[in-house]
Subunit: 165 residues, 2 copies
């Protein structure tokens, strides 16, 4: 089994403005239908005719499907965080729906870094992730708060503090 | 094929404070592994030993899996919105991870209703959705902005305006 939780960037290695770009995910109609049948069984995600008559004007992936694919792209190298990608939460919006012919990638930018006051081994890193298709259409914006480990404390605290341990 | 987009509540039928409760979803280890393999392949979602050594202290569902199940519960009668549940976006947080033995349901409350100024046929309804397990542990809080249709305009505008149409 292949895990993707061994990545290089600790909190101490990140800086505001730093950017990462993921690989690609090729969407297709089969994936849209399979996800919708399991998790979001609404006509505009399942049926061309119902979708055309809806607000979406054509078959549209569930927003949660776009979110799940975004996570896959981040985990598979799109956002190489030490210990894996652990989200505490975030804000998500879908400016337009993912379509069956979309090839998606994610562009992530570090927007805030907040070391924890109470837990010296970690902090919160806020990352803005835009999921775009091959034409640059933004299909999702996710501003996520991630729990990110610091490098081992012995590397970052002063000898004076070490002496008191 | 079974669609779930025929529901009774238009924007005009909703009021702030109104509450809805969904049916149940029984999580299990197989579902957690299947979702994680496809969308969130990290050790703490895939492997007991890796999960026990992680921040989660044991096998934990992907937060996006909890989000997808929440959507399923809302669509399958948990939030009976006319025309289906169409999210423009929202804020999501995961106070604690969903576990393999969790039985989930969603409690939704209408917190804001904003008719559109530019589009008289719709508005935005903000709904706070808490996804809880059988012990009342909150596994997700989603504050979602939904696009909700109004009842046909002819029912809500005055005869004077109708005369000018």
């Amino acid at each position: 089994m292949e895990f993707w939780n061994q990545h290089p960037y600790h909190l101490d290695d990140l800086q505001v403005g730093q950017r990462f770009t993921s690989g690609l995910h090729e969407m297709d109609e089969g994936q849209i239908l399979a996800f919708a049948e399991e998790f979001d069984p609404q006509g505009f995600h399942l049926d061309h005719e119902a979708a055309t008559a809806s607000l979406f004007g054509g078959l549209a992936a569930s927003g949660w499907h776009t979110a799940a694919i975004t996570m896959k792209l981040l985990v598979r190298g799109g956002l190489p965080i030490a210990g894996g990608i652990i989200g505490a939460g975030g804000e998500v919006s879908w400016p337009g729906p993912t379509r069956p012919d979309d090839r998606l990638h994610v562009e992530a930018e570090v927007v805030e870094i907040t070391p924890s006051r109470s837990k010296p081994d970690r902090g919160i890193v806020t990352v803005r992730c835009e999921t775009k298709n091959q034409r640059g259409d933004v299909r999702q914006v996710l501003v996520a708060k991630l729990v990110v480990p610091r490098r081992a404390v012995r590397q970052s605290i002063s000898p004076q503090i070490l002496a008191s341990v």
